[in-house]
């Protein structure tokens, strides 16, 4: 648990359509008879984003119909405040758009797969003249996926292979810079003119300052599960929190096990490393000890007060019984070794719960 959870996760966040007799043929009976009871399953999620005007969380998914050989493109909605499932609607032109995400002015931008045109979407015709950038005409062609749009600064942020790239389109389109991703991309979310959020397939969550091309935070989802198929991230600009959609395999009865998770964008303290001596252990001399306050992703947590004490009876004396962590979470203590013998140094951190 590396990011603070703002509220409990919402498990099984997509209610699949249950199988009822007469719904289909017995084309694939092993998927329909018990223990499976549903006629569909998630194939993959194409998009996940926060819709500010409606205060919804939205996911576009490709589903496989298991009752007969078919598929569907479906848009799922949740209440952004509670995570309650609100409903679904079909998507007609799903095949031509991908990786929709919230961007500047709370608009939803997506890439048209065939023509590489970035457009404003959501209840508007794809080519309505409001905003459109045809990346396919750029030279070199950036071939970006998971695109975010910052209209204020005329910048497009996207991922190509293992790189987060920032392109300016104010004049002649040009690449402004890139950052290497630590792992393959799960999804990308826009926060504001400076920041975006990245989640990797393994559940690492990174806050990225794309204006300055640097990461400013590395953390992870709570309890990253080995069976997770993918993670997608959205940023709720109203509540300033990160929402993660964890895609997991269906349960044995065929029900959806995907879940929504809500995080405050700060790391949770998960532990102190053991204090380690970093200077000679000599009776009659001062010994330095190093430790670190960390989250589950190993990220150092700054500015936390750490208290040290010696178990009694003690041979030596603590010279610095309290110290704050530095920017990388490191903390150091000095201990004066009196006489030869064995002492036990205990560290503790008093941290707030972030709520």
């Amino acid at each position: 648990m590396s990011l603070w959870q703002a509220q409990p996760p919402v498990p099984n966040c997509i209610p699949y359509t249950p199988y009822t007799p007469g719904m289909g043929t017995t084309y694939n009976p092993q998927l329909l008879i018990p223990p499976r009871h549903f006629v569909e399953t998630i194939n993959y999620f194409n998009s996940f984003f926060y819709l500010p005007g409606s205060d919804y969380l939205v996911a576009w998914a490709s589903t496989i119909i298991t009752a007969w050989p078919s598929w569907a493109y479906v848009c799922f909605y949740w209440d952004a405040n509670t995570g309650n499932y609100l409903g679904r609607s079909p998507i007609i032109d799903f095949a031509y758009i991908s990786s929709a995400a919230t961007g500047s002015y709370g608009l939803i931008y997506a890439r048209q797969v065939v023509w590489l045109i970035l457009s404003v979407l959501w209840n508007q015709p794809v080519a309505d003249g409001n905003f459109q950038v045809d990346i396919s005409t750029w030279s070199p062609n950036p071939e970006l996926n998971n695109i975010l749009v910052n209209q204020d600064d005329k910048a497009i942020i996207g991922v190509q292979d293992w790189f987060l790239e920032v392109w300016g389109y104010g004049g002649t389109p040009q690449k402004l810079g890139a950052l290497r991703l630590p792992d393959s991309l799960g999804y990308l979310a826009f926060q504001d003119r400076q920041y975006c959020w990245i989640i990797t397939h393994g559940g690492l969550v990174l806050k990225c300052n794309y204006a300055k091309l640097r990461y400013e935070m590395v953390s992870s989802v709570q309890n990253p599960s080995a069976d997770a198929i993918n993670y997608l991230v959205a940023y709720d600009t109203f509540r300033s929190r990160v929402v993660v959609l964890r895609q997991r395999p269906d349960a044995a009865d065929g029900s959806c096990q995907c879940q929504l998770e809500f995080y405050r964008p700060i790391s949770v303290v998960t532990g102190l490393t053991d204090p380690v001596p970093v200077s000679p252990l000599r009776a009659g001399s001062t010994v330095h000890f190093d430790a670190a306050l960390i989250g589950d992703a190993g990220e150092g947590l700054p500015y936390a007060p750490i208290t040290a004490q010696l178990a009694t009876p003690a041979h030596g004396q603590l010279l610095s019984p309290a110290a704050p962590t530095t920017l990388n979470g490191a903390v150091a203590f000095d201990y004066f070794a009196g006489t030869a013998g064995e002492d036990t140094l205990q560290l503790s951190a008093d941290v707030e719960d972030g709520s």
Binding site: F163, L206, V278, A297, G298
Partner: protein, 325 residues
């Protein structure tokens, strides 16, 4: 043997075949970057281990306790938070980087030199400006072992390690081996530049932390230096004693205690060993007395040298006669 400070209780987990290929201290993390070729990990001194992505290329150490990435012959600086490379920070736009594909090379971009982890106890060196080979640095007694790590220590200095635990401090500009040491057998090793410590990942996957000085093992008898054949009254003589490790390596910067003699006097009761392990003092023979005197030295930490030896030198002062060690 370098003095062992700490062994982690935690055992690192590395997927099969369980071989680490690169280990480096990152000052920005105050922790270590570990690669097993498939995954990257952040490792703390106590052995806490966290996956932090996958290696984007071949990692190497860089001057200034940093890491660089060699991606298809192009060298990139590393990013502070993730340890990944920064695509916008190419270190060698005009260099010719040798075709190294082994993790653990060492890049000194201030001097335009790159060192490789070689076999047969040799460190190949190359000039970056044109890729030409420089005279290789030979580590005496290291053949046929393969180096596994080159860790930056300071200007023009790296620590070389191999899996048997041999350690050498090398000045690569002069091509000199400054000292040799030993640690327990290790898969990979790094230098903690913040605390000036050697940190290894042992073959048992435990983190071990060593001082860069040997563990003191023996103290020599004090001797006059230069040697004298007789000790005259009212004259001062330089004396010295030597502190060494179990392999005879000098122990620098250690306190040696001297017990004041009965007749004469000593300039100091505690002196520090120099880079060769010698601690020097001055013995002043008595002005009027004659008879025998004994100079006694001991190392101040009985928990380090057990049992603690006292070393002595007997002196006969008789109007300027002889010395009887």
């Amino acid at each position: 043997m370098l003095e062992l400070l700490y062994t982690s209780n935690k055992i690192l987990t590395i997927p099969a075949p369980g071989e680490a290929s690169f280990f480096a201290y990152l000052a920005a993390w105050d922790a270590f970057l570990l690669s097993d070729g498939l995954k990257l990990y952040k490792v703390f001194r106590d052995g806490s281990q966290f996956p932090i992505g996958v290696p984007p290329g071949v990692p190497g150490n860089r001057v200034g306790s940093d890491v660089f990435w060699n991606v298809g012959g192009v060298c990139y600086a590393s990013e502070d938070l993730t340890g990944q490379y920064q695509p916008n920070k190419v270190l060698n736009p005009t260099w010719t980087f040798p075709p190294f594909d082994t993790p653990g090379t060492y890049l000194d971009d201030t001097q335009g030199i790159v060192l490789s982890v070689g076999s047969q106890g040799v460190i190949p060196a190359y000039r970056l400006s044109n890729g030409s080979a420089l005279p290789a640095i030979t580590l005496p007694g290291w053949s046929p072992h393969v180096l596994n790590s080159l860790a930056p220590v300071g200007p023009a200095k790296v620590l070389a390690f191999n899996q048997t635990g041999l350690v050498a401090l090398v000045n690569y500009l002069l091509g000199q081996v400054l000292w040799n040491g030993m640690v327990d057998p290790c898969q990979v090793a790094a230098f903690d530049s913040k605390n000036k410590l050697v940190v290894t990942l042992g073959s048992d996957l435990k983190i071990r932390i060593y001082l860069t000085t040997p563990k003191p093992a023996s103290l020599s008898n004090p001797e006059f230096y230069p040697a004298v054949t007789k000790v005259s009254r009212e004259i001062g003589y330089q004396v010295r004693t030597r502190l060494t490790g179990s392999n005879g390596e000098p122990c620098p910067g250690m306190v040696v205690n001297w017990i004041p003699p009965n007749l004469g006097t000593l300039a100091q009761t505690q002196t520090l060993t120099d880079s060769e392990g010698y601690a020097y003092n001055f013995y002043f023979a008595p002005a009027v007395a004659t008879g025998s005197d004994t100079l006694i030295t001991f190392f101040g930490y009985p928990d380090i040298i057990t049992p603690e030896p006292c070393r002595s030198l007997s002196v006969v002062v008789a109007g300027g006669v002889e010395v009887a060690p």
